[in-house]
Amino acid sequence: MRRNVSVAAWFVLLAVCIVLPFSSEDSQVLTIAIQTFILTALASSWNIIGGFAGQISLGHAAFFGMGTIITRELWLSGAPLPLSLAAAIVATALFALIIGVPMLRFRGIYFSIGTLALAVAISLTIGNLFPGITSMPVEALRAYTFTDPYFLALGAAVTTVAVAMLLRRSVVGLGMMAVRDDEAAAGAVGVDVLAHKLAAFAISAALAALAGGAFAFFSVSYYPSYPFTAVWSFETILVTFVGGIGTIVGPIAGSAFFVIGRDTIAANFEGFQVIGFGVLFIVVVLLVPGGMVEGAQRIGAWVVKQGQGRKRDVEG
């Protein structure tokens, strides 16, 4: 019963997302939706390495950035979009596999610092190598609509969430969570620790590259180093924690809350959106480590308890 309700809820959400661009021409609404989808894809992909496998990577922007730059360069030089995207995803996954072998041998804090160093080093290098802004050519701009990037971004979000769902129920996904909860114990019962971490890292990177591809296809002009900047890693981690790390709904809820909230605050109190979310993030880490998902569960449990209490009062 509960399962049917949740399956139905997912389909309603998906249906609303599919219908939205046909019912609204408002470019602001569509922009917010596209940003939410891209962030959802990023957060859900980070959740695989950070939430499932428990390795706090601070370098997710590197994979997102690689996705943007490979897709953009190939696409703007005339390759078909699907091919450019596929190349970006495969190349990024391969890169993650290669760099993952030394990186994932480091535990805890060393892994976090290492991935941060990786991302910042790549970001600065890309800034040095590609100093100029990248813009869509005039003819592409003339034909530009929000609908195409909308569906690519939605597709990226749906794909990422679907992979996370499948992974969570699979043997490989369970292995990742075993590694997260107790590396030594997981190793002792025969889970190949490094292989599971590596799989999580590569899948997570490939999906981040897909999100990057959507960004490259959506954005008219930006500095090529911008998607590589640490802000992207921060926002990804922030929304995952605010939503609920290790859950499926968390990254989606966190992203929607973040993008819509950021826009609302920015419209009313210019400049305070970052401060607001910074404070919120700190409060979540300290007080509600499970994020919005845990908060909702606590409220749900409280409501149920109150309801039972009242029933008892009536009966008594």
Partner: protein, 291 residues
Amino acid sequence: MQLVIQSAISGLLIGGMYGLIALGLALAFGVLKVLNVAHGELVMLGGYVTFFLVAVVGLDPFLSMPLVFVATFGVGVLLYLVLFRFVVRFDIDTRIKNSLLISFGLVLILQALAVTFFTADERAIITDYSTAALTFESIRVPFIRLAGLLVAVALSVGLQQLLDRTTFGHAIKATSEDWALASLAGIDIRRVYLVAFAISAGLAGVAGTLIALGFSVSPSIGLGWTLKALIVVVLAGLGSIRGLIVAGMLLGLAEGLASVWLGGAYREIVALGAFLLVLLVRPQGLFGRRE
């Protein structure tokens, strides 16, 4: 050849800054077991305090250093009381993870505040002696950067003396070795945490002065310096105070030489490469002892 020598000298001088910033970072990590990624934002803050002391009050930047230390020490006290006090209640593993995440939030907040109050403009402090330098043929050693290195070395030695020679220093060392035992021995570890964190912030502030003088300040400089400092801390061996300045200078030297041979565009890769290599070969760090 002169280019190589010049790059090596520049690298060594900037490396002193890496070492000084790493000093504060390592102190907080060693004692409180918190990793403060917002350490670079404290450097940025110190840079701005100096900038306004020089621009508004007309103080000499080097004379402003004690004031900057006091100001950022105060910021450290505040941050500890408002935030990190709650982090040190967790067990060690959770402390590291939570402090990392919380200081992430802090990075966002402090950067946004800096943009709001100081604007996003890049600022540098210009003095009468800004361009003065020791010159040997065409090789230049700018005075202010040289002075920066000397200050870094002096602060490092001073901190080491504080830890080795004073009672409070012994309390800090004892707490960083084993806080539970230190607490049983009658050390007020909350006070040790507070002071160690505040000193760490004060050191960041002074580093900010030197960076505003020798380089430049803008709201977004923090993370780049934090990253270099983190790498230096790992290179020297996590938790060790000794050897940080030397490790910083080695990193700066490697970067300087790499920019000659690989071209400036790739110099940032060197830090990453050095980090990976050292960790793979010597997981305990260059100067650390194997546990």
